[in-house]
């Protein structure tokens, strides 16, 4: 797989350099050099919202640092968790004296590092809470929802928690809205072609000439089935069906939908998927609010797409509508 890069060992740091150079609202911080935070220091009295994870998923995670969204983010190597040190630094940079929410995807490595960072910072008197994104319905059954991986849908929780934090809400309230948003968000992905970790000599998985995998994870974790490519409408139908079959408790008739490219899949195909998904949802009596279609959480040059549904209530819907501004997502009043 051809990549526009220099030495693989510099991939992440050079990418981060470019990211902050191109976006003056962001800054690189910490001794580790692996923390992206808002260039403006956090307002004292504001609850901090921190995320983090491996590199290779831009705009996730670092791209969502901005007003009404995240305060800071720790970044690991490609598809590897951020170190404890960078997690500690990210939390400290997001500390405005009212505590910090750690909001990240449910992966073992990320959890170990963030948990350890949180414990170590308790000694320094920073209160932290944790909410784990676990929206990927393909990764475990409904009874084992706590085991599910976190994928694109986490950005809904970034948005609601970030918006609520800007209002001056306290840590418990910000934590609760993040948890509610995660609880009401479901995602499923479909992979068409793999990506390759820089420096690795083989792709992250292999798929036949005309094969796709339903439910594959964003690092190539195994999915639900692998079979020949079918028409987009059939794929969209199955994805929506699987998401609705897993509807959260208390779900109403309004959803926000995110049709997301895993990387190489172009906007044209996303809109074809969106068209069908929308028709299917409307036929099921479900109204779409604030649809998102684009590159929101990728796996570098992986081909494929994911669909997320956030089953909103009035509170979530209002927070999704609140102004927000980061390099990859702007919501205006």
């Amino acid at each position: 797989m051809k990549k526009l890069m220099n030495k693989p060992s510099g991939f992440v740091d050079e990418m981060l350099d470019g990211l902050v150079a191109a976006n003056p609202s962001l800054a690189l911080g910490g001794d580790t050099g692996r923390v992206v935070h808002r260039a403006k220091p956090i307002r004292s009295g504001k609850v901090g919202v921190v995320s983090g994870g491996g590199s290779g998923h831009l705009p996730l995670f670092t791209g969502y640092v901005g007003e009404g969204l995240l305060d800071s983010c720790s970044i690991g190597n490609v598809f590897e968790g951020p170190t404890v040190g960078s997690c500690m630094e990210a939390i400290k940079l997001a500390d405005g004296g009212k505590g910090v929410l750690r909001l990240y995807g449910n992966y073992g490595g990320d959890r170990m590092n963030f948990d350890m960072a949180g414990e170590m910072l308790e000694d320094e008197g920073i209160r932290t809470t944790t909410v784990l994104g676990n929206d990927d319905v393909a990764s475990a059954g409904p009874a084992e929802r706590q085991k599910r991986r976190g994928v694109a849908g986490i950005i809904y929780a970034y948005k609601t928690a970030g918006a609520l934090a800007e209002t001056g809400a306290d840590l418990d309230a910000v934590t609760a809205i993040a948890q509610k948003t995660v609880d009401r968000t479901r995602t499923i992905g479909v992979a068409l072609a793999p990506c390759q970790v820089p420096g690795s000599d083989k792709p992250s998985f292999t798929l036949g000439e005309n094969e796709i995998e339903m439910g594959m994870g964003i690092h190539g974790e195994p999915g639900i089935w692998r079979d020949t490519l079918r028409e987009a409408d059939a794929i969209a139908d199955e994805m929506i069906e699987r998401l609705l079959a897993d509807k959260p408790e208390g779900a109403g008739k309004r959803v926000s939908i995110l049709v997301n490219s895993l990387g190489a899949t172009p906007l044209e195909e996303l809109f074809i998927l969106y068209r069908r998904a929308r028709a299917t949802l409307e036929a099921a009596g479900i109204e779409i609010v604030r649809p998102l279609v684009g590159h929101y959480a990728t796996s570098m040059e992986m081909a494929g797409a994911s669909i997320s549904l956030c089953f909103v209530d009035d509170e979530i819907e209002a927070l999704l509508a609140a102004p927000a501004h980061c390099p990859f997502w702007t919501v205006t009043a």
Partner: protein
């Protein structure tokens, strides 16, 4: 003149680094089969960092607990992989277990192994049979406890501990991974040794050789 406990621990970490260096490529190969192929590199980085941190410590005045704590910090700063928080937590717990102790008698070694393995378990939330390094550390700690309860000699103690560790590592080949990166390949992990278990067994042997 018998070596101080702090010096013995430092020598143990030196031997651990050598053992990892010797196994480095093999460990990465094992990880390549079911993970991301970097386990040799992460362990090598980690133990080099531990020894570098220890080199800056005054072993004449440092306590065994301080040696462990220094090792924990050194490891943590160097390793981003899953092994970073796992071993750093193990080492921190071991440091707590050794707090106030001056001697590394068998009871201290037993407590150290127990704290170490519990730290790893608490951090990683894995259990025996999940095909991880815990399948080495937990049986090794149990063997140590039994050996002390049975009043075994130092030699028999370490023999029992290394046998338990080696058996535990070998057994991982028959397990399906459910934690860590190897869990992604599920059934395909069957038949492969877990790299973290293999390196753990090498670390236990280094302990036996030096303590």
């Amino acid at each position: 003149m018998s070596e101080s406990a702090a010096r013995a621990l430092a020598r143990m970490f030196g031997r651990m680094a050598e053992a990892i260096e010797a196994e480095k490529d093999h460990l990465s190969e094992l990880d390549g089969a079911i993970g991301d192929g970097d386990h040799g590199i992460t362990m090598s980085l980690g133990f080099k960092a531990v020894n570098k941190a220890l080199a800056a410590l005054d072993l004449d005045t440092a306590s065994p607990s301080e040696v462990m704590q220094t090792a924990a910090t050194g490891f943590l700063d160097a390793v981003g992989a899953s092994t970073g928080p796992l071993y750093a937590t193990g080492l921190r717990r071991a440091a707590q277990a050794l707090a106030g102790r001056k001697e590394l008698d068998l009871a201290a070694c037993r407590d150290m192994l127990a704290a170490f393995s519990e730290g790893i378990r608490d951090r990683g939330k894995a259990q025996r049979g999940d095909k991880t390094m815990l399948d080495v550390w937990l049986p090794a700690a149990e063997a140590a406890a039994t050996a002390v309860a049975d009043g075994r000699s130092k030699q028999d103690f370490w023999k029992a501990v290394t046998i338990a560790a080696d058996n535990g590592a070998a057994a991982t080949a028959t397990m399906v991974a459910t934690k860590g990166r190897a869990a992604r390949v599920r059934e395909r992990s069957l038949g492969h040794l877990d790299p973290g278990a293999a390196s753990a067994a090498a670390l236990v042997r280094a302990m036996a050789e030096t303590l």
